[in-house]
């Protein structure tokens, strides 16, 4: 990992399209401004972790439950729309 020290107001450039600027340092919080082309997905790392965790939860399903739910849905007229 590349480690750089920056002060508030200073920035880091990644390539020629992305700039990450330290806007404010306040106690344990750092406000960061990111300039990047609109065609980039930028998100807090927690979102990636949430998707990963939900994927792991989603693999734990049971064929019996699946059939039960589908039967209940057809009993309730919840057949898929066409």
């Amino acid at each position: 990992m590349l480690v750089l020290t920056r002060k508030a107001g200073e920035a880091i450039a990644i390539g020629d399209q992305i700039t990450i600027k330290v806007l404010e340092v306040k106690g344990t919080h750092i406000r960061i401004g990111i300039e990047a082309p609109p065609d980039f997905r930028i998100y807090r790392e927690e979102i990636y972790v949430k998707v990963k965790e939900q994927n792991q939860l989603a693999t734990c399903w049971d064929l019996h439950d699946f059939e039960k739910v589908v039967n209940l849905m057809s009993d309730e007229g919840m057949e898929q729309r066409h």
Binding site: V51, N55, M73, R81
Partner: protein, 154 residues
């Protein structure tokens, strides 16, 4: 699936449409028989849910704006239908012609546990209907300005 599902190393999957499966399909790993996801087309439940792809995502899926795509969301199943949720934050985009898929992590604020069904009113035990569309499924418009990904019904 060149990058696999987020958090999983398996790369090759097949979409199975089980008989009497209702809106659910199986996203089955070809290399690990124990790995299968239940997936749904979110448009069946949340017509306004749309995903715009970035240029990079179009490239990785070998798609051009306007090409046919299939949008799927991973369901987290439960014996209680009211507790079945789908993950709107991490949809799977499929290029059906090229047989390439990617699971995206969207940057907007979407639920990873959006209930698929809402209780019928007045709430009666065991009855289900379609859930109301979630409030935060629009506004990813800051991304690539090409044509939005229009989910295609199978």
């Amino acid at each position: 699936m060149p990058d696999g599902m987020v958090g999983f190393s398996e790369r090759r999957f097949i979409i199975l449409n089980p008989e009497n499966g209702g809106p659910f399909c199986w996203f089955q790993s070809l290399d690990n028989p124990d790995l299968a996801f239940v997936v749904v087309e979110p448009v069946r439940f949340f017509p306004e849910y749309q995903v715009k792809l970035t240029r990079e995502e179009y490239d990785k899926l070998q798609l051009e704006p306007g090409d046919e795509t299939v949008l799927l969301c991973v369901a987290t199943m439960s014996p209680d239908p009211l507790k079945i949720t789908i993950n709107l934050q991490g949809p799977i985009v499929v290029n059906p012609a090229g047989m390439i898929a990617r699971q995206l992590v969207l940057d907007g604020n979407h639920s990873t546990r959006q209930p698929l069904f809402a209780p019928r009113e007045p709430a009666a035990a065991g009855t289900i209907r379609k859930a109301q569309p979630p409030p935060a499924v629009s506004g990813i418009s800051s991304l690539y300005s090409g044509k939005g990904l229009a989910p295609v019904r199978s």
